[in-house]
Assembly symmetry: C2
Homo-oligomer: 314 residues x 2
């Protein structure tokens, strides 16, 4: 299995730079005062489509040969990856085909359709999603872009950490959330290449701790009945992301739902920015383990800002 390297991520960055936002790195004296360490937040909630997912999608779409591109791209997703792939495809002027469960939130359907994607609805089961996508792929010859277990997607996601470390120069630790592991894989490769002494720590909800257990035991446990407000972190690791994570990540730490909500609220109230629950995981882990992080210089990737304002946990 060919694993992405740092130079693949540099190449990805050169390719996607004209299409993505270089998001700001924000700090908060008030949060630093509360947690007793220096935090640098890379704000992917300000990325296009509101999440880091756009980086990977753009890299995947713009890496395609002209012929492959003309046949279009596809994925099954009801989340940020669907919107990201749809917008990336529109930017290249090709068709995206998104398989969505019929019960996906109306607002997501509208967003994806708004980016010009062709939506196919199916039953809300993983099997129906895969079968429907397979049928489309066979018919149209399109390229499937997996949301995380994809070489080009991982390389794209790694560019967030690249920009963060370019900006802050040094760090003792870098934290990001882990769901399927795309963001974590790219982040870990970049960090170990630029700052070998910097610890890469992933943050995962206790109620969806499959990556924590997989990392500990050395085998992929699928995510079964995950129960967390962090709806971006429900998925299982893939073979590619698991291999990268085993080689490059130092630790996976879990956080309770209570801490996730407290961290999310702290970011909203103190920083005046909107982040989705998944983004709050790193701060939640810090809140639960103060001594571990005390006095450290820590980079954090805020993964996204797509949240239903009418369904807030506070």
């Amino acid at each position: 299995m060919l694993l992405p390297t740092f130079s693949d991520i540099l190449e990805a960055h050169a390719l996607i730079k004209p299409f993505i936002h270089r998001t700001p790195v924000l700090t908060s004296k008030s949060i630093n005062g509360i947690v007793g360490c220096d935090l640098f937040f890379k704000c992917e909630n300000f990325q296009k489509v509101g999440a880091f997912k756009f980086r990977g999608a753009v890299n995947a779409v713009f890496s395609l040969s002209e012929d492959a591109a003309q046949a279009g791209v596809g994925t099954h997703s009801s989340g940020n990856h669907a919107a990201a792939l749809a917008l990336a495809a529109r930017m290249r002027g090709i068709q995206a085909h998104i398989v969505m469960p019929s019960n996906a939130p109306e607002v997501k359907k509208i967003a994806v359709a708004g980016y010009g994607a062709n939506i196919t609805y199916c039953e809300p089961t993983l099997q129906a999603r895969e079968t429907t996508l397979k049928k489309l792929t066979d018919e149209l010859g399109l390229t499937v872009v997996h949301p995380y277990n994809n070489f080009k997607v991982i390389c794209g996601q790694g560019t967030a950490a690249l920009e963060l470390l370019e900006e802050i120069g040094s760090a003792d630790m870098l934290l990001c959330p882990v769901g399927g592991g795309g963001l974590l894989s790219g982040t870990a490769i970049v960090t170990k290449a630029l700052l070998p002494g910097c610890k890469v720590i992933a943050a995962e909800p206790k109620g969806a701790d499959d990556a924590f257990r997989s990392f500990r035991d050395g085998c992929i446990y699928p995510s079964v009945h995950p129960a967390t407000i962090a709806d971006g972190l429900l998925t299982s690791l893939g073979d590619l992301t698991f291999a990268v994570i085993q080689q490059n990540v130092d630790e996976i730490v879990t956080a309770s739902e209570e801490s996730i909500v407290a961290a999310m609220r702290m970011i909203w109230e103190r920083m005046k920015i909107i982040v989705e629950p998944s983004s709050a995981l790193p701060l939640a882990v810090i809140l639960e383990n103060r001594e571990k992080f005390a006095g450290k210089r820590i980079g954090i990737i805020l993964s996204g800002g797509n949240v239903e304002l009418t369904k807030l946990p506070f």
Copy 2:
């Protein structure tokens, strides 16, 4: 009556620069697409204490002579000005005395006390607030810093527009909300000095339209029973702010509560930043008067981001 001039505001900016955040100017392609004009948002929700009020308070506090400063400063307020004055005083190492109504929200009391201010509680009437402050002033010889009808405060508030126009260079219009008129006065003086052709338009809630009527009729109508979600815009104009506004403002336009909430939600959802209802007034006015603003290049001051997350209007 001595009115502030552009050079007073330049002087204020030089004085307060080391103490304030130079807040970012953000744009949103998606909102521009909806409203059909180019908007540049000056994000005072990211200012210290979460609102532009900090600029005026710092200017007032740091303009005091050493003797006056040692006697302390005071105000009556339950809002952003109280926190702003408290923090500004702490930065100068002097005492702030804040008179607050006993029914002020707990979170505001904690914030002001957290900045080291001395809080005196009183009955929740304007008369009780004024009497209590007067007593303190007589006893302690402190300098009262009015939240808006104050020369130095107006000059401080004008620095937000100064930074905004420095950054965007040109504009057809500049919009900000109006409550007591401190922000509007400073904004108007700066704009007319730097860009005489740029229209200064104030946005006010229909349910608290005393400034609109005062401006139209040429006399100050007090704000009686204001009814609006924009809790920063409940106050009446003062003689100083009214004089500046009469000379420098082109128009005051009102917006409905529905539009204020829609604009606030649009900023939260599209820009992923938290603004308080008062900040949404300019966009609300644009949403209600699309033709008037179509195709224009427009600066907007987002006044603050202090909002109770458990009491959102959506």
